[in-house]
């Protein structure tokens, strides 16, 4: 009689039935499925647990941003950009404002650039927190999600101090900000820099070397670099495949060239690499914010928060009520009657998900002739069928959440 440990006999059988018995099922994943974290439909052809092919349907929250933008003055388009990647709305706002500044040839002061960088990097951390926490949830670790969302909340409190809003921030103005950062904003930013590294480390300890998490993520949904480039991947997803393309370094905007930071890259573009790239980017973002705060403190100038562009920056209310010039500017700005040159520009920023570009064509009118948003999600989500072909359904869910597809950005 054998005394060894009995092996369960299912190990003896192939999990995939032999070819001649193949029976394919069609499975609708979505449009509203809790595991897809958004409104995505995937019609999957399943061979047991394995995905044979996937066909996506998108556009469930299409809101015609590009069409609406053709009928709105520049300031009213900022609110549209909020609603693209709503996890990191300030980056979208700044990207839009910088595009307009490029068209109008507005030079921003250094202090404005640094303040913008603080806002953008905080937004990047908030964005990556969502994505990485959700990867944890999809692998079965809800703790990290509930643990780290407190800090995302704190970032939103800082945004609240900067611009008054939390999620859809409508932050900043053409040429700078609507007002200076107040003391609470600075204090909260510094407090964030003090306490967040410890919490981020704790979050990392929870997942990074966790055996279950590693087994689940390593080699799950890998994507080769050449295919990633052909599919137009940018941002953390491309860097996870092993190429250090980052708009902040490649085409520095907003004085990013003054900062010292690294671009983390992965190796084979699987879920674990994407997780780690985002994780390391949060550390780098913290470094950038710390440097920006220091630079702002070293500056003797503590009051500049906008460029010298009276045609685009609303004058203070007390002046509007008492001075004619200010009243005229106020009226012109609100009605979108400031002069705009004819021309076309393309500008891009490193969004939470990659190269977020705006192609702006102006015919000199009060509204753009054409605005096209390069939404990174829209470009790389089309690679999803190729990524999940032949892998298991539960891995496909994980691949999708690690790509950080944001429905608002996907559907515009």
């Amino acid at each position: 009689m054998s005394t060894g440990i009995a092996k369960p006999d299912f190990w003896q059988h192939d999990l995939v039935p032999p070819a001649e018995h193949k029976e394919l099922n069609v499975l609708n994943l979505g449009p509203t499925h809790p595991a897809t974290h958004g409104i995505f439909q995937n019609v999957l052809t399943m061979d047991g647990e394995y995905i044979q092919s996937a066909e996506q349907t998108i556009g469930y929250i299409h809101r015609a941003f590009e069409k609406i933008a053709e009928r709105r003055p520049f300031y009213q388009i900022t609110t549209l950009t909020d609603r693209m990647n709503y996890c990191s709305a300030p980056i979208n706002n700044m990207g839009w404002h910088m595009t307009v500044e490029k068209l109008l040839r507005i030079e921003t002061p250094k202090r404005v650039d640094y303040m913008r960088i603080i806002a953008m990097e905080l937004a990047r951390i908030a964005d990556h927190i969502v994505c990485n926490a959700v990867i944890g949830v999809d692998t079965g670790a809800l703790t990290g999600f509930t643990f780290i969302f407190q800090d995302r909340e704190f970032i939103y409190e800082i945004f609240e101090e900067i611009c008054g809003a939390r999620l859809t921030t409508n932050m900043g103005r053409i040429g700078g900000f609507e007002r200076n950062f107040n003391d609470i904003a600075w204090r909260k930013t510094k407090h964030f820099l003090d306490y967040f590294p410890k919490k981020l480390k704790e979050f990392e300890n929870l997942l990074m070397r966790n055996r279950i998490f590693m087994d689940r993520c390593i080699n799950c949904g890998p994507f080769p670099l050449d295919r990633a480039l052909a599919y137009g991947f940018t941002g953390p997803n491309l860097r996870a495949c092993g190429l250090d393309y980052d708009v902040r370094v490649m085409d520095p905007y907003c004085s990013y060239e003054d900062f010292d930071f690294k671009i983390p890259i992965g190796q084979n573009g699987d879920v674990y690499d994407r997780f780690m790239v985002r994780q390391k980017e949060m550390w780098e973002s913290l470094r950038i914010i710390r440097q920006a705060v220091e630079k702002c403190e070293k500056m003797s100038d503590k009051t500049t928060f906008t460029a010298e562009v009276p045609e685009w920056v609303l004058p203070p209310k007390e002046e509007v009520y008492n001075e004619m010039e200010a009243l005229i500017y106020h009226f012109k700005i609100v009605m979108g009657e400031s002069d705009v040159p004819v021309g076309e520009v393309y500008h891009c920023v490193e969004g939470g998900n990659g190269e977020l570009g705006v192609y702006l064509v102006s015919d000199g009118g009060r509204t753009p002739f054409r605005v096209h948003f390069r939404r990174p999600c829209f470009v790389y989500y089309q690679a999803f069928p190729e990524m999940v072909k032949g892998i298991m359904l539960s891995d496909a869910i994980l691949s999708m959440s690690s790509m950080n597809v944001i429905a608002g950005e996907l559907d515009a």
Binding site: K102, L229, A230, G232, M250, C254, Y346, C348, A412
Partner: protein
């Protein structure tokens, strides 16, 4: 003012090489702020893109989007295609444009060069009615499939004209 690094010598190289390889195809070229823009003949756009990708190292297609230029005096309705290319190695970006009359909105597909254009072409088809010969799956992408118009064309009103639940007197129509 944020701007890309202007690479005058790379721009000139593209001008020279394109001029040599496709003497008839480049209709116009302009410098828009920090980017060189080439307007090319629609028929040779596919070959030019292949040439730029293989010979001049433009490895990355950033965007592809449609345009509509409404008819003006002496010019009929035009549909356009705007493509941004990026060469990572040379940190160089260019813009390509090609126009086609509204009556003949067909372009060849570029999915054989960059699979990324698959959805971008579907978007251009969805919103402008541009068609792409040889596209593997050319159907609407963001709008519903039985949508009756191409909504980004300039003659399509912003307010949905098919809606009956809105009182015109209240919405200024």
């Amino acid at each position: 003012m944020p701007a890309f690094a202007i690479q005058t010598d790379r721009d000139q190289l593209v001008v020279d090489r394109l001029g040599a390889a496709f003497p008839e195809a480049v209709l116009a070229q302009e410098q828009f702020h920090d980017m060189r823009c080439f307007t090319v003949r629609k028929e040779s756009l596919h070959d030019i893109l292949r040439f730029l990708r293989d010979e001049l190292d433009f490895n990355f297609l950033t965007t592809l989007c449609g345009m509509h230029y409404p008819a003006t005096e002496g010019q009929e309705d035009l549909l356009g295609l705007v493509i941004h290319l990026h060469s990572f190695r040379n940190r160089h970006r260019i813009r390509l444009k090609a126009n086609t009359p509204l009556k003949d909105p067909a372009f060849p597909t570029f999915t054989d060069l960059w699979p990324a254009t698959n959805w971008m072409e579907r978007e251009a088809f969805d919103f402008y009615g541009l068609t792409f010969t040889g596209h593997p799956n050319l159907k609407r992408i963001l709008n519903m499939e039985d949508f009756p118009a191409f909504p980004m064309r300039k003659d399509y009103p912003l307010e949905d004209p098919t809606r009956e639940d809105k009182n015109d007197s209240m919405f200024g129509r």
